[in-house]
């Protein structure tokens, strides 16, 4: 009897162990946007190909996600096996040894197909530390009907002075149309993303070669003068509260003559289900000033593996599936080519089906191709990043400076005062951090 019971117990235990081995659960932290939600819905394709791996999704708002994954990775909490991280985090975390290198994505992954600018943004010392899921740059979206009515035509890349003139012509608040909509909400990923690219276009840089902040330069003054003038005088009221989504709402409601923002907005503003002006939108590159270098940003949401994960192999399998060429075809077959995640693979922009479905594809490619995180300023600089400096201190600096610039836009302080405050607060932070 005892022998029978013992055998049964062993069988049960063995079964339990086999069951435990049979399934590896990957916990994936991600942001809530259309492309990521689509990926969640297509999970069955991955689990059918990998029956030994199950996926648990944790979707969070961007800022919450950033705080959550940063805490987890810094404390080696081990709560996540795959993390969605931006191009700002990848080089910093890779440098600290917090991310596992992606060296087993498979033979058919075709890493050389990843756009060079994006690939360089997610690599460190030649190794890939995250795989881009979708990428974006910035560009101008404008109302073709309003341009035609005002007799404006775009010939070549616009300058900020020309953009100002056009904004003046289009600005008719009595008719509910504002000349231009731009980000005014304070934050390193909000107004600072745009203003830094404006600064680049005016010949400015965040830090000189010795890591000294340069907000006291004439270039920054010109850039901020332009920003406060164009948005303050020809933008919507209460622009200091407007980020991407607020401007998207305004543009889709037909309230903006022009809008300079992320290239991913193109799919929203041309979607008749979301936009009242879907068939009236034109696209062109972000304006230049004294240079076009760094005049448009570069950002990508990427999938990376924290060093603490015990399931690196399974996580690499998942990342390989989610960022592969085959995944783009899977999305296209289920949801149409217009819905595939853009901005990461060159082959997508050679695909005639995609080019036909996405009228903004050429401009998006042009914008991403022209954004170089290493050479993004006219004068030499010590940091990597177009609209940010990939150093841990930048989040705090960007938020503080963004608040000062937002105050200048609101008229609470002058441009000179805002720049002076930005200079001294950044200088203090950099000094404290031991840069000089």
């Amino acid at each position: 009897m005892n022998r029978v019971m013992g055998t049964a117990l062993c069988a049960l235990l063995a079964g339990g162990i086999a069951q435990a081995n049979a399934e590896t659960k990957l916990t994936i932290a991600t942001v809530n946007n259309g492309d990521m939600i689509r990926m969640q819905k297509l999970t069955d394709d991955f689990t059918a190909k990998n029956p030994d791996i199950s996926l648990e999704w944790v979707t969070l708002e961007e800022n919450t996600l950033r705080q959550r994954v940063t805490t987890d990775i810094a404390t080696k909490g081990g709560q996540y096996d795959v993390m969605t991280i931006g191009t700002y985090e990848v080089p910093i975390w890779a440098e600290k040894g917090w991310l596992a290198p992606l060296d087993a994505l498979g033979d058919d992954y075709d890493v050389d197909d990843i756009m060079p600018a994006i690939r360089s943004a997610v690599s460190n010392d030649g190794n890939l530390y995250a795989a881009p899921f979708y990428g974006e740059s910035s560009m101008m979206m404008y109302r073709k009907d309003l341009f035609d009515a005002a007799g404006i035509s775009i010939d070549g890349r616009l300058t900020w002075d020309q953009t100002l003139e056009i904004a003046q012509k289009l600005h008719k608040p009595d008719e509910g149309v504002y000349g231009i909509c731009l980000r005014g909400k304070a934050g390193w990923g909000e107004n600072m993303a745009l203003i830094t690219t404006m600064g680049n276009a005016f010949g400015a840089r965040l830090f000189d070669e010795e890591w000294n902040p340069t907000f006291d330069s004439a270039e920054w003054k010109n850039a901020l003068d332009m920003y406060t003038n164009i948005l303050g005088n020809y933008g919507p009221p209460g622009a200091t509260s407007n980020g991407f989504n607020e401007n998207l709402s305004l543009f889709n409601s037909g309230k903006c003559g022009m809008w300079i923002d992320a290239t991913v907005a193109a799919s929203f503003v041309t979607n008749p289900k979301e936009s009242k002006v879907a068939d009236k939108v034109g696209f062109t590159e972000a304006p230049c000033a004294v240079t076009c270098t760094g005049a448009n940003w570069l950002w990508a949401w990427n999938l990376g593996i924290p060093m603490g994960s015990q399931k690196v192999d399974a996580a690499q399998k998942f990342i390989s599936w989610a960022t592969s060429k085959a995944y783009l075809e899977l999305v296209a077959s289920k949801e149409g080519w217009a819905n595939v995640p853009p901005g990461t693979r060159m082959s997508l922009y050679q695909n005639p089906k995609y080019l036909e479905a996405a009228p903004f594809a050429d401009e998006t490619l042009l914008a991403i191709d022209s954004a170089d995180p290493i050479n993004s300023t006219l004068k030499p600089k010590p940091y990597v990043g177009v609209q940010f400096a990939a150093i841990p201190e930048f989040q705090g600096i960007g938020t503080t400076v963004g608040q000062q610039f937002s105050a200048a836009l609101a008229g609470q302080m002058s441009v000179e005062q805002a720049l002076s405050a930005a200079q001294s607060s950044t200088d203090r932070t950099m000094r404290k951090a031991g840069y000089y």
Partner: protein, 276 residues
């Protein structure tokens, strides 16, 4: 002196009260309304009030994307669990402070309340490390402990205030009749403090239900409550107001219903001892 209210005064007061009530309720009403709009309708300027194409598509999508009942069940367990654990400690603590005060009681009460003044993010990393080392990350037990400790000062304060209203003589009489300490608390003190205990429980349940810092930072999936459910519908790029409103409506619905049915008890408890 008797305070007689004129009809005009009564009407004015009623109108004022209604206006204030409607103003407070309006955001919730608007949220519910938005949850039945399409994303395009939700952002349209000027906003449409009633005359829009009512749709349930947001609720359908929320149901498809998330397991609402899992999140709701976690919210119930965390809110009720932390309240019950908290009550055990708060009742005994408030009893001691109300009926056997020392010269340091007031200081202790103030000190307890002062712990609420520290921003939670200040202790995030130490608590995260403790949770990691004790294997409490993403567990309901760990979160119940945090929520109970977080709300304990308020529970003690509230119960202390109610207990102070109860005459000590009654407890002494019970003791004279031979009641032991547990019997004195359970059979004499608690029945007299039911309104106060009920409102303390309700307030604590609401506070725990709405807590969004620790519940977001210490959970991933297994113990994630409705706050995590709502947070997953806010998007940095793309329209989300209608879906977020649907998720929020589902999240606040249970607590709204509980609050509605228990409002009499809640008001009675909160104003207990306010007018002497």
């Amino acid at each position: 002196m008797e305070n007689k209210q004129t009809p005009l005064g009564y009407v004015s007061f009623s109108v004022f009260a209604w206006i204030v009530g409607l103003l407070i309720f309006f955001p919730i009403f608007w949220m519910v309304l938005t949850s039945f709009k399409s994303e395009l309708e939700a952002i349209s300027i000027p906003p449409s009030f009633i005359s829009f194409d009512w749709t349930l598509e947001n609720y359908v999508e929320v149901q498809e994307r998330s397991n609402y009942f899992k999140f709701a069940m976690n919210s119930v367990i965390l809110a009720v669990g932390s309240t019950l654990v908290g009550l055990v400690f708060a009742v005994t603590c408030a009893w001691a402070m109300a009926f056997n005060p020392t010269k340091r009681t007031k200081d202790a009460l103030l000190w307890m309340l002062s712990t609420k003044m520290m921003p939670p993010v200040g202790v995030l990393v130490p608590i995260y490390l403790l949770f990691r080392d004790w294997g409490l990350l993403d567990t309901r037990f760990g979160l119940i402990m945090v929520l109970f400790l977080m709300n304990l000062p308020i529970m003690v304060w509230m119960l202390y205030t109610y207990f102070k209203e109860i005459p000590t003589d009654i407890l002494e009489a019970a003791r004279m009749d031979g009641a032991t300490l547990p019997k004195e608390i359970i059979f004499v003190l608690l029945p007299m403090a039911v309104p106060g205990i009920a409102s303390t429980m309700l307030l604590n349940i609401i506070l725990a239900w709405n807590e969004a810092f620790w519940t977001l930072n210490l959970t991933t999936s297994d113990a994630a409550p409705l706050t995590a459910f709502i947070a997953s519908y806010s998007s940095p790029e793309g329209l989300f107001w209608a879906k977020l409103s649907a998720a929020s409506t589902l999240a606040v619905a249970p607590i709204l219903v509980i609050g509605w049915f228990s409002q009499k008890q809640l008001v009675r408890g909160l104003t207990f001892g306010a007018v002497k």
